[in-house]
C-alpha cells in the first residue's frame, strides 16, 4: 500500500504540474485570471511530491523487500540510519529526491516573492511547472522508484559500503537542495524574459534563492570533499573527477550569479548577463545530473549506467536549456539599458569577478568534456587530469582571490577616492609572508607559494569593508560578505599548505616497527580483527607521537558481506597544526603490513574555510530577510527605529 500511495501521489503531482503550465499560459494570454489557482496548485504539487518521497523513506525504513528498489539497495541487517540514507543512495531514489526539491522550490516560489511583478511570477511558476513535468515523466516512465517485485526476495542486496557513512546521510540531500534550488533562478529568469520585466524587483526576488542554494552547494561540496578525503583513503581532497566537476560547475555559476544579482538588485544593471547566468547555473545542475545519472563519464561515482535513461535526461536537458537560450536570443534585444557605471566602480569589480568565475567555469567545463570531443572527432582516447585543471584554474583562482580584496572597497557607480591606500597593511603582511616562505621553505612550488601569499593578503583585506564604521550599524550582509571572503582566504591557505608541506610515507612494516613522517613517529603496535554490524575488519593499532604524549590510531581494512566489498577506513588525528592521516593495507607473504602515512599541515583549513564561506552566506541571508521583514511590516518598531537614523 505504501508504495502504491507514493506512486499515486507522484502521478497526481505530475498532473498538477501540467495544470500549472496551462494556468500560467492562460493567465499570460489574458484568457482568465490564473493568479490565485496557480499558487495553490504549486503548493499542493509540492506537498504531494513530499508525500511520495516520505512513502519511499517509509518503505526503506521498514525494509519492504517487495519494492524492487528496496530489495536492490537495502538489507535488513543495515543500521537504521543507512536504511534511511539508502533512500537516496541509488538512481531512482535520488531522482525522486531531486524532483521533490524541485516541487518544493516551486511551492516556495508561490508562497514567497510577494513583491515581484505578478505576471513575471506567474510566468516563472509556469516555467517551474514545465521543469517539474519533464522530471516527473522521467521518474514515472523510466525510473519508477515504487516498482514492485513479485515474489519478494527473502533478503535485500545491500548498499554500496562506500556509501555507508554518516557523510552520505547529508551530502546528497544538501547538494540536491542547492542544485535544484537554482531552478527558481532559472524559472525567474525565464519568467522575466517572457514578460520583459528584468528590473531591480526581479533581482531582489531572485537573490535569496540564489544565496540559499549557494550556501547549500558550498556546504555540500565542502562535505563531499571531506568525505572523499577520509573515506576513499587516498589522502587527497579534490581529484578533478568528472562528478566532482559536475558539482563544482553549478557552484561557480551560482557564485557568479550571486554577485551579479546584487548588481541587478541594487543598481538595476547587468540585466541580460544576470538572466544568462541564472539560466546557466541551473543548466549546469542539469548537466551535472545528466553526467552522474547517465554514467557516461568514467568516474569513481559511476553508480548507474543506463543508456535509455541517459537519452531521456539528455532530451530534457536539450529541451529546457535550448528553450531558455532561444528565449534569451529572442528577448534580450528588447531589454532596457541598465544603469550606467564607470570603469572604477563596484559594478566593474563585480564584472571582473563574473568574468574570472565564468572563465574558470569554462575551463572546468571544457576540461571535463574535452576527452569526449576529441574521441568523437578523431577516435583518440585521452584523459584530462589534475595537471591541466591545476595549471589553468589555479592561477585564475589566485587572480580572483587577489581582486576579492579590492572589489568590496569600491563605491557603486564611480569611485572617486583613493582606494589602494587602504590596502597598505594587507600588502605589507602578504609581502612578509612571501619573504618568510622564500627564506624558510625555498623548495616549495610557485603556485603554493603564491597561494600562501594571496591567502595572507585576503585574510586581512577581507575585513576592511567593516573598518571605520560602527559595527552595530553595519548591515549583517556586509558582515556576511567579509566572513565569506575571509573563508576564501582560509580555504586557500589550507590548499596551499597541503600542497606545499605534505609529507608522505609508504612502507611495509612488521608489528613493533616504527616509521617517521614529518614530525611524527608512528609505531605499528599490533593488528587485530574487529567486527561491525555488517562488516568484519583487520584493525591496526598505531601509536603516534611527536615529542609529547602518545595518540592511538586504529585504521581498518573493512570487508563488507552484503554486497562483498573491501574498503579502507583511514584513521586521522587532528591537531591545531594539521592532520596525521593513516591507512592500513594488505599483508605480504613475510607478515609485513602496508602502511601509508601522511602528515598534512593545516589541511583542515580547506574545509574550515568552506564552512566559513557558507556561514558568511547565512549571515547575509538572515540580514536580508530581517531587512525585508522590517520593511514589509506596515507599522511598528522598525519604522521608528529607522527614523532615528540607525538603518
Amino acid at each position: 500500500m505504501i508504495a502504491e500511495a507514493g506512486l499515486a501521489a507522484l502521478w497526481l503531482a505530475a498532473a498538477l504540474s501540467l495544470l500549472q503550465i496551462l494556468l500560467s499560459v492562460g493567465h499570460l494570454r489574458a484568457w482568465f485570471d490564473g493568479d490565485r489557482p496557480i499558487r495553490s496548485v504549486a503548493i499542493v504539487q509540492g506537498a504531494l511530491t513530499l508525500i511520495a518521497f516520505a512513502m519511499l523513506v517509509l518503505a526503506f525504513a521498514r525494509t519492504d523487500l517487495s519494492v524492487a528498489l528496496v530489495a536492490a539497495n537495502s538489507h535488513s541487517a543495515k543500521p537504521m540510519m543507512y536504511k534511511l540514507a539508502g533512500t537516496w543512495g541509488n538512481h531512482e531514489g535520488s531522482m525522486l529526491l531531486w524532483v521533490t526539491v524541485l516541487a518544493l522550490a516551486g511551492a516556495g516560489l508561490a508562497i514567497g516573492s510577494r513583491r515581484l511583478g505578478r505576471a513575471t511570477l506567474i510566468a516563472a511558476l509556469g516555467a517551474q511547472g514545465a521543469l517539474a513535468l519533464g522530471f516527473y515523466a522521467f521518474l514515472l516512465l523510466a525510473s519508477n522508484p515504487f516498482a514492485r517485485l513479485d515474489p519478494a526476495p527473502l533478503e535485500g542486496r545491500g548498499l554500496n559500503p562506500l556509501l555507508q557513512d554518516p557523510g552520505l546521510a547529508f551530502h546528497p540531500p544538501t547538494l540536491y537542495l542547492g542544485y535544484v534550488g537554482l531552478s527558481v533562478a532559472f524559472s525567474l529568469a525565464v519568467g522575466a524574459l517572457i514578460t520583459g520585466d528584468v528590473d531591480r524587483a526581479l533581482g531582489r526576488a531572485m537573490r535569496p534563492w540564489v544565496l540559499g542554494a549557494w550556501i547549500l552547494l558550498t556546504l555540500g561540496i565542502t562535505a563531499g570533499s571531506y568525505w572523499a578525503y577520509y573515506e576513499l583513503g587516498w589522502g587527497g581532497w579534490w581529484f578533478w573527477d568528472p562528478v566532482e566537476n559536475a558539482s563544482l560547475m553549478p557552484w561557480l555559476a551560482a557564485t557568479a550569479l550571486l554577485h551579479s544579482v546584487n548588481v541587478l538588485a541594487t543598481r538595476g544593471a547587468l540585466r541580460a548577463w544576470t538572466m544568462m547566468l541564472g539560466m546557466i547555473a541551473f543548466s549546469m545542475s542539469m548537466v551535472g545530473t545528466f553526467l552522474v545519472r547517465s554514467g557516461i563519464l568514467t568516474s569513481v561515482h559511476s553508480f548507474a549506467v543506463d543508456p535509455s535513461r541517459g537519452t531521456f535526461l539528455l532530451a530534457l536537458l536539450g529541451l529546457y536549456v535550448g528553450a531558455a537560450f532561444a528565449l534569451f536570443a529572442l528577448r534580450t534585444g528588447r531589454l532596457k539599458e541598465g544603469a550606467p557605471f564607470e570603469l572604477v566602480s563596484r559594478e566593474s569589480g563585480l564584472v571582473a569577478n563574473n568574468l574570472l568565475l565564468t572563465v574558470i567555469l569554462g575551463t572546468v567545463f571544457v576540461g571535463t568534456l574535452y576527452p569526449l570531443f576529441v574521441e568523437a572527432l578523431s577516435g583518440d582516447k585521452l584523459s584530462v587530469g589534475p595537471p591541466y585543471f591545476n595549471a589553468v584554474a589555479g592561477p585564475l583562482a589566485l587572480i580572483l582571490a587577489t581582486l576579492i580584496a579590492v572589489g568590496p572597497l569600491l563605491s557603486w557607480r564611480r569611485e572617486r577616492r583613493a582606494v589602494l591606500g587602504k590596502l597598505t597593511i594587507p600588502a605589507l603582511i602578504a609581502a612578509t609572508v612571501l619573504a618568510i616562505s622564500l627564506f624558510a621553505a625555498p623548495q616549495i612550488g610557485l603556485l603554493p607559494r603564491l597561494g600562501l601569499t594571496v591567502a595572507a593578503w585576503l585574510a586581512v583585506a577581507s575585513w576592511l569593508p567593516l573598518t571605520r564604521r560602527n559595527p552595530l550599524r553595519t548591515p549583517l550582509s556586509t558582515w556576511g560578505m567579509a566572513l565569506a571572503h575571509f573563508g576564501v582566504a582560509v580555504s586557500l591557505a589550507g590548499m596551499a599548505s597541503d600542497s606545499a608541506f605534505t609529507r608522505e610515507k609508504l612502507a611495509a612494516v612488521r608489528p613493533g616497527e616504527t616509521l617517521r613522517v614529518g614530525p611524527w613517529l608512528v609505531k605499528l603496535k599490533d593488528l587485530a580483527p574487529a567486527v561491525g554490524p555488517n562488516w568484519t575488519a583487520i584493525e591496526a593499532e598505531l601509536r603516534a607521537s611527536r615529542g609529547g604524549g602518545v595518540v592511538v590510531l586504529k585504521p581498518q581494512t573493512r570487508y563488507f558481506t552484503d554486497p562483498p566489498t573491501e574498503t579502507n577506513e583511514a584513521a586521522i588525528v587532528t591537531t591545531l597544526s594539521g592532520q596525521l592521516y593513516t591507512v592500513v593495507g594488505k599483508p605480504d607473504a613475510e607478515g609485513r603490513w602496508q602502511l601509508r602515512l601522511w602528515w598534512k599541515p593545516f589541511v583542515t583549513l580547506i574545509w574550515l574555510g568552506g564552512v566559513l564561506i557558507a556561514l558568511g552566506g547565512v549571515l547575509a541571508l538572515v540580514g536580508r530577510a530581517w531587512r525585508t521583514w522590517r520593511k514589509e511590516r506596515p507599522s511598528g518598531g522598525g519604522q521608528s527605529w529607522r527614523r532615528k537614523g540607525y538603518a
Partner: protein, 175 residues
C-alpha cells in the same frame, strides 16, 4: 548586444548536446585489449591443476589450434559460460582451461557442480600465465594457432552468439 552574440549560447549548447548524443550512442569501451595478440607464446607452460589431468603447454603442436579459457572457481560469470564451452567441445573445438589463483579442492568442486568442458587444465596460482597472455581478468578466452601464436581474444564471459564466431575462427586456423 549583437544578434550573433545572443545566439552563441544556443550554438554552444548544440555542440555539447551533439557530443553527449554521440557518447550515448557509442558507450565508452572499457575493455583492455591484450597487447599479446599476434605474439608467439609457445614457451608458456602451466602445470596440471588437478591430479590425473594434463597441464597446458601453449606451444603443444598436437593440441593446437585451440581455445584457451582463463577461469576460476571463485569467478561467478565463469559458471555461465561452462555450457557454451561444452557446446564448442561438442563441435570438435579443442578447449583447455587455465585456473587462475585457484585451489585443487575448490576447482574439483566447481567442475563437479557446473560441468567440465576442458581437455587439460593448467594451474596459474600467481597469475603469471595470465600476465603472459596480457589478460586483465577472468573469464577471458583466447585462440592460439598451430605454432603457439595468440590470434584472438574475447574479454568477459562468452555469450551464446560467440560460440559460432569462435568455432569459425578456430576452423580457419586449422586450414
Amino acid at each position: 548586444m549583437s544578434r550573433w552574440l545572443r545566439l552563441t549560447p544556443m550554438v554552444l549548447l548544440a555542440l555539447v548536446v551533439a557530443a553527449l548524443v554521440w557518447r550515448l550512442a557509442h558507450p565508452e569501451d572499457t575493455h583492455v585489449p591484450s597487447k599479446m595478440i599476434g605474439k608467439n607464446l609457445a614457451e608458456v607452460r602451466a602445470p596440471a591443476a588437478l591430479p590425473g589431468r594434463a597441464g597446458v603447454w601453449v606451444g603443444d603442436p598436437v593440441a593446437n589450434p585451440r581455445v584457451i579459457n582463463f577461469f576460476a572457481s571463485w569467478c561467478v560469470p565463469c559458471i555461465t559460460e561452462v555450457p557454451l564451452l561444452q557446446r564448442l567441445k561438442q563441435q570438435g573445438v579443442g578447449v583447455d582451461g587455465i585456473a587462475v589463483r585457484d585451489r585443487p579442492a575448490d576447482l574439483a568442486a566447481f567442475l563437479r557442480a557446473n560441468g567440465d568442458p576442458y581437455r587439460a587444465i593448467g594451474a596459474d596460482p600467481q597469475s603469471s600465465v595470465q600476465m603472459d597472455f596480457g589478460s586483465s581478468g577472468v573469464p577471458e578466452t583466447y585462440l592460439v594457432d598451430r605454432s603457439g601464436i595468440v590470434r584472438y581474444q574475447h574479454i568477459g564471459p562468452l555469450e551464446p552468439e560467440d560460440v559460432a564466431i569462435i568455432r569459425d575462427k578456430w576452423q580457419a586456423l586449422r586450414k
